[in-house]
């Protein structure tokens, strides 16, 4: 009996609730775990690496001439559009991976630890911002290579990148929710694509809204993706903050406010 005895009363101070600082700390640790996992399996970055490159090339050269007369004039339209589309599509992976992760035994341990309930979710979502950052940087880089010269300057481009990353993070809460409630990872992928595909294409991301029929214009103008695309265009192409930026930020906040508690609650109820 060389080791000290363990007694519940003297063992450590028992806290009934997790403090805010602890929640943040736990979430950051979980994010660190996410980064370690990405480092261990770099092949899961395949999509965020190649989608921006391939899509930017494809869409620009296919639609450029038809929509804006030439590729150069199309770039200020398509780069913000493709950026939003690519990065937001990337956020689906968050839900898919969360589902896969939750099916593993390690999540049981997380649940049995005295940590903030939100941490395993928040951490996973936070770690995924690295994916959005990669996609963002690659899309802009492709743009520059193809001759895109945003009038807003580098500072505003960076700012728009941050905006897209932030909004994608917010939207990833929706997919995280699907991830938590769905049975299998592939069904998460399926549901998410069905929602996102129309949302990203029925927007002003690729073509001018004027060319669409009236009823569609109504939807496209309502579509939050359109507002985000416009906000990015404002920032990149003219260095201005518009109403669309405000709407995008409010939209992101609303999504988080609704889906974060919803996701955490279903996550807690699951086992």
């Amino acid at each position: 009996m060389s080791s000290p005895s363990i007694h519940p009363t003297t063992h450590h101070q028992l806290n009934k609730r997790t403090s805010f600082t602890q929640s943040v700390r736990n979430s950051l640790t979980m994010a660190y775990r996410g980064l370690l996992k990405i480092r261990r399996t770099p092949e899961q970055l395949f999509d965020v690496t190649f989608q921006p490159i391939i899509f930017t090339l494809m869409f620009t050269y296919i639609f450029g001439g038809a929509i804006s007369g030439n590729v150069e004039n199309y770039l200020p339209v398509i780069i913000p559009g493709i950026l939003v589309q690519t990065v937001i599509t990337t956020s689906i992976v968050t839900g898919v991976q969360l589902r896969e992760d939750m099916d593993k035994g390690v999540f049981d341990r997380f649940k049995s630890l005295p940590i903030a309930r939100i941490a395993p979710l928040a951490g996973a979502l936070l770690a995924d911002t690295i994916r959005y950052t990669i996609a963002t940087v690659l899309t802009f880089t492709m743009g520059y290579i193809m001759g895109y010269q945003p009038d807003g300057g580098l500072g505003y481009v960076a700012l728009s990148g941050l905006l897209v990353i932030l909004c994608s993070w917010a939207i990833s809460w929706i997919f995280a929710f699907f991830g938590v409630i769905a049975r299998t990872a592939s069904s998460v992928q399926g549901i998410s694509m069905i929602i996102l595909f129309p949302l990203t294409f029925l927007s002003n991301a690729f073509v001018p809204v004027k060319t669409m029929p009236g009823w569609l214009q109504w939807f496209v103008n309502m579509n939050p993706i359109s507002h985000l695309v416009t906000a990015v265009r404002d920032l990149c192409n003219s260095g201005t903050f518009g109403w669309d930026l405000t709407i995008s930020l409010i939209g992101a906040a609303v999504i988080v406010l609704i889906f974060a508690p919803l996701t955490v609650r279903s996550y807690m109820r699951q086992t």
């Binding site: 009996m1 519940p8 063992h11 996992k37 261990r40 035994g105 390690v106 049981d108 049995s112 630890l113």
Partner: protein
């Protein structure tokens, strides 16, 4: 095991590490846990014994705040698992049936992350990981991803991760299922060590031998209900008759000895074809005296004589009315160990 150890607990205060009353959990039509009561004294090893699908894991998951009971209540060191889950989580360590560690990370990374989550600083976490890896003999494999770990190594890492905060109560869900005998013995030693250090251990097992070896008290669980509870000895006694085993000095006496036994004890006897050992149930201990006298009068010399309590295997069969078909191999081991 631990006669001394059991005495030590009796001397200590009668704190309950676990008190569960009428726990129920239903999945659809299936009442996985159907009114389970459990009382585990602090500082002891408590075994929950039952076949696959008896509801052991479900019961543990409710006690570990991983699953909300449909009915009933449970306290861990006096803290309710439903009302004060966050406190309960600070008092327990859980090692699941399937290793609850991160497959894609290394052993060190796993331990560092769990340590950090438990509030240790960066340097402390690193230190703790190193210590635990050493304690569990995993230092060499520390940097390898878990994919390349053997089952035993994984379990050890899993247990190590449960011990970071040195929780006073540790749940072990089938800690040795699928391990080879050597690794299993190592695991048993580790578990005994834990209790020596003052932890309480609640373990589930389908192996009678394991419960026999480790547990101070045992609850036998079948189809979601506790069908028997007590010390290993109490359970064995509850099944009733002990049996008499004897061996004669001269093999030619076996048949006569057997007839004497059946005449005096008025029971059927068996002769083992391997070592010529005769065994017979003892229904009335008094008659054994008569038997020994009769044997001497018949001039039969004995080489060996013993009285044995029934094995847990027999206990289980007796309590549940059905055997452990899928564990016949394991039962064989128990008998060997008991002889």
């Amino acid at each position: 095991m631990g006669y001394e150890h059991r005495k030590k607990i009796k001397a200590e205060d009668t704190n309950w590490a676990v008190e569960a009353h009428g726990l129920v959990k239903t999945f659809g039509d299936n009442r996985a846990v159907d009114g389970v009561n459990l009382n585990v004294r602090a500082g002891s090893i408590y075994g929950v014994l039952g076949p696959n699908g008896a509801g052991k894991t479900t019961a543990i998951r409710m006690l570990a705040t991983l699953l909300r009971p449909d009915a009933g209540s449970a306290q861990i060191f006096g803290h309710d698992v439903v009302k004060e889950p966050q406190i309960v989580r600070q008092l327990i360590g859980v090692t699941g049936q399937y290793a609850s560690v991160d497959e894609s990370l290394s052993a060190t990374e796993n331990l560092i992350i769990f340590s950090r989550l438990l509030g240790l600083g960066r340097a402390e976490a690193r230190q703790k990981a190193r210590e635990l890896l050493e304690e569990f003999g995993l230092t060499e494999a520390a940097k390898r991803p878990l994919k390349h770990f053997s089952g035993g190594m994984r379990r050890r890492l899993d247990l190590a991760a449960s011990l970071i905060a040195r929780p006073p109560l540790i749940f072990l869900d089938e800690p040795t299922t699928g391990l080879d005998p050597r690794t299993r013995n190592q695991m048993w030693d580790t578990i005994r060590q834990l209790v020596k250090q003052g932890s309480t251990v609640l373990l589930t097992t389908q192996y009678l031998q394991e419960a026999d070896e480790l547990a101070d008290r045992i609850a036998v669980i079948d189809r979601g209900r506790v069908v028997a509870e007590g010390t290993v000895d109490e359970l064995k006694t509850s099944v009733g008759s002990s049996s008499l085993h004897l061996r004669t000095q001269h093999p030619q006496d076996i048949e006569e000895a057997r007839q004497t036994i059946e005449r005096v004890l008025k029971v059927e006897s068996n002769v083992s074809s391997i070592d010529g050992k005769i065994s017979a149930p003892i229904t009335d201990a008094d008659r054994v005296t008569d038997l020994l006298i009769s044997l001497r009068e018949a001039n039969i010399h004995l080489a060996e004589l013993s009285v044995q309590k029934p094995t847990l295997d027999e206990v289980f069969l007796n309590l549940t009315g059905h055997g452990l078909e899928n564990h016949s191999k394991q039962s064989g081991e128990v008998e060997e160990a008991a002889v």
